[in-house]
Amino acid sequence: MSNSKKYLQEELIRISGVNPKKCMRCGKCTATCPAYDEMEYHPHQFVYMIESGDIEPLLESESLYKCLTCFACVERCPRGVEPAKLVEAVRLAAIRKQGNNRLTANDIPELIDEDMPQQAIVSAFRKYTK
């Protein structure tokens, strides 16, 4: 693994507080994911790709913004890996790298509908602000 990849991997592990090595590759996170059809990379792939240092494709993927942050994967993971936290860490890294927001704060109210759970709104702020 190159040094830059290694640095990025360590950074993601540090900001997420997740140890991807605990994963036993059961795929329960992906099995439980309600946003599966929308996502290019799925929760178990986030865990696996971060563990193996293959992070660039994740940074560029729309999957980052399709994750609902519903934490179903965190709740169900038998190994306590917390994949959603890794997705969020990659999202943060992508936003920091871009240097600007994906959307402005003013764009958000229009996107929110009434049925949206509060958790998703908080997550939306995480997605769209620095």
């Binding site: 605990k22 036993m24 590759r25 059961c26 795929g27 329960k28 996170c29 992906t30 099995a31 439980t32 994911c33 599966y36 059809d37 799925h42 178990h44 179903a72 169900r76 993971c77 038998p78 190994r79 306590g80 890996v81």
Partner: protein
């Protein structure tokens, strides 16, 4: 003054590679009491031992220090050598200069310096050693087996076969355990009842074996060879000696709505029942929680129909005291509760079942008479999904599951899938697995047969959730190899629930002072070399109480435990360990602190007469150690506020001398 001989071992290059053995022997020669010092390549070899024996004779040695490997390795060897040379074996001390010195140090000067220090400490101790003689205690030639499943049954049969008496204590009304609930057994697919029930009958007919069914162990006192055990025979309201097991009462009892635990509550039984047709002993039992006669004093039907006059509504719990030389724990396992696994909808749908429930559904003696029918509507399921590793292999912080692999699930799931496809070829069977673990004779072949010959779909991935939808169950799962999320509309979902030790194991371990791991499995004395012995002398382990096990392994371990018991019971007397606690009665103030800290119950207090200087007598309460029970752990010596307790062979004086030798 002692005359001490020091023998420094090279252990080939194991020690000599990092310790200058000649320098160690030379340095120790100068220690007080040392009259002889030598080194040799392999002190444990016959030549090395002869060297020690010759030195004892030639130099009139009274004590020996061997600087070698861990005392765990060769202390016994060198004690025997000393005894052969006419010395008391407890005049030998080992300085561990291998595991604790040469193996952990890299350079010779450091290794040599430390070896000398360790040798000095051992010399300082031997200077204060006194000859010790182990005590002897008799052996009660009868064994107790706690638990009447296949583990307990096999252990009891093997012990009885050697001519010793055995009692089985089983908390349920019949022996048989989990195996009696199973349908077929992997990998040969013989019917569980066909191979188990003859053994149950053997137990019942064996003159050497007594069965205490519907009974529990409530108290254990004593020590190896001499256990005093109290057994509670729970009131079953039926006189065992009169009941013929005809079953007339179980047919006439008007209370029909009693959950049938033998069928995992999937059907009902009467308030008076015999768990299953081949039960041993075949005696009826009244469930006091449901019996109208016992609850309200109205009914009495069973009493009227019983031709043998066996019904006794006034029966009380009975306590029996027995003596045993050895105790075998065979308390077995249970599947864990599925209550916390909301994602699998176990509590929402009757058609989500555990594998043990599936066993009952396919068993000819089960609630559906062996027809595989859905519990909800009695229809034949067309599509069945099996989920593996439910609650097994979880993270240590996971509150729902267990950290370990339950070991038996891969094989019984393959069995269930195969048998379903065999009996109902139109049924679509899918197994979700994380890993298929099938080590064992003919095990992997069995699993492959399920896939290749019987067409079971094995999908690598886990089920995320099960959603009841009308009369279907939507199973949402990963197919990790295809990279897909699947949604399968199943008719029946079978969860391979993790197994855990029976709940009775923990209080029993406390009674036996036997140690357990964090999962409440009993700990073996050595994980590889003493797998069927508990660290507590006289307590042995059989079956799944020690860890998840299938039937072949359980039977093998049961036989092994029996052979250990036989080895113990064959002895007329047991030689104890002389390194036990001893109370100095003149210093003991009778405070009971030692009694409270003793993990083995070895200390009792007695009122003893003391003659005073003025010839009057004084009665004082003093501690008394039972040397046969004491394991020499030393807790009491630390706890004693007046310094009256001391450990023979490890006296405070000796320990301090060692510390002084190291520090000076």
């Amino acid at each position: 003054m002692q005359r001490i001989g020091v023998f420094v071992c090279w252990c080939g290059t194991n020690i000599a590679g990092t310790v200058d053995v000649v320098a160690v022997a030379e340095a120790l020669k100068k220690e007080p009491g040392v009259v002889f010092s030598d080194n040799y390549q392999y002190m444990c070899s016959q030549a090395g031992q002869d060297l020690i024996k010759a030195a004892v004779k030639e130099h009139n040695l009274t004590g020996i220090v061997v600087c070698s490997c861990s005392p765990r390795m060769h202390e016994a060897t060198f004690r025997k050598t000393a005894a052969a040379a006419g010395l008391n074996p407890y005049m030998v001390e080992i300085a561990n200069i291998r595991e604790q010195c040469s193996w952990v140090h890299k350079d010779v000067p450091t290794g040599t310096e430390k070896a000398i220090i360790l040798g000095k400490a051992a010399v300082a101790k031997v200077n204060l050693n006194v000859p010790l003689t182990p005590g002897e205690s008799p052996v009660t030639k009868r064994a107790l087996v706690i638990g009447g499943g296949i583990a307990g049954i096999q252990t009891a049969l093997d012990i009885a076969d050697a001519g010793f008496e055995v009692d089985i204590v089983e908390k349920k009304p019949t022996i048989g355990g989990k195996m009696a609930q199973l349908d077929k057994t992997f990998p040969t697919l013989d019917c569980a009842a066909c191979i188990l029930t003859p053994k149950m009958v053997d137990v019942a007919q064996n003159e050497k074996i007594r069965i205490f069914s519907y009974s529990e162990v409530t108290e254990v006192k004593g020590f190896v060879g001499n256990f005093d055990v109290t057994i509670k025979k729970k009131a079953r309201y039926v006189k065992e000696e009169l009941c013929t097991g005809c079953g007339a009462c179980t047919e006439k009892c008007p209370m029909k709505k009693v959950p049938n635990d033998f069928n995992l509550n999937m059907d009902t039984k009467r308030a008076i029942y015999i768990p299953f047709a081949q039960a041993v002993p075949k005696v009826a039992t009244i469930d006091a929680d449901y019996c109208n006669m016992l609850k309200n004093g109205k009914c009495g039907v069973c009493s009227k129909v019983c031709a043998a006059g066996a019904i006794d509504y006034t029966q009380k719990d009975e306590f029996i005291s027995e003596k045993y030389g050895a105790i075998v724990v065979a308390t077995g396992f249970n599947p864990i509760s599925m209550d916390k696994f909301d994602e699998f909808a176990y509590n929402q749908s009757k058609d989500v079942i555990t594998s043990l429930e599936f066993e009952r559904l396919t068993n000819a003696a089960g609630p559906t008479a062996g027809k595989l029918l859905r519990p909800s509507d009695g229809k034949h399921p067309e599509k069945i999904v099996f989920v593996q590793c439910v609650g097994s292999r979880c993270d240590a912080c996971n509150e729902k599951g267990k950290e370990y692999c339950s070991k038996i699930c891969c094989m019984y799931t393959a069995k269930h899938a195969m048998l379903t496809r065999d009996k109902y070829p139109d049924t679509d069977v899918t197994v979700f697995y994380i890993d298929v673990r099938t080590p064992g004779k003919n095990f992997d072949e069995f699993y492959r047969r399920a896939v290749e010959e019987y067409g079971v779909h094995y999908i690598k991935g886990m089920v995320g959730k099960v959603i009841p939808d009308g009369d279907k169950l939507i199973v949402q799962a990963s197919d990790l190899i295809a990279g897909k999320q699947l949604k399968i509309d199943a008719d029946l979902v079978v969860l391979a629930a993790a197994i855990e030790p029976d709940k009775s194991a923990r209080p029993l371990a406390t009674m036996l002072t036997a140690s357990m791991d964090t999962n409440d499995f009993f700990t073996e004395a050595h994980p590889k070399l003493r797998p069927v012995e508990s660290p507590t002398a006289g307590v042995f382990l059989s079956g799944a109480c020690q860890g998840p096990k299938d039937i072949p392994e359980t039977v093998a371990q049961a036989g092994a435990a029996a052979s250990k018991v036989i080895g113990l019971l064959a002895k007329d007397k047991l030689t104890g360990n002389p390194c036990v606690a001893q109370s100095n009665e003149m210093m003991c103030n009778g405070c009971s602190t030692c009694e409270r800290v003793c993990p083995y119950g070895a200390i009792t207090y007695e009122d003893k007469e003391f003659r005073m200087p003025d010839r009057s007598t004084l009665i004082r309460r003093v501690a008394s150690v039972n040397p046969a029970v004491c394991q020499g752990c030393g807790c009491c010596t630390v706890a004693c506020p007046s310094g009256a307790m001391d450990l023979k062979g490890f006296a405070s004086e000796q320990i301090i001398a060692e510390v002084d030798a190291i520090c000076k």
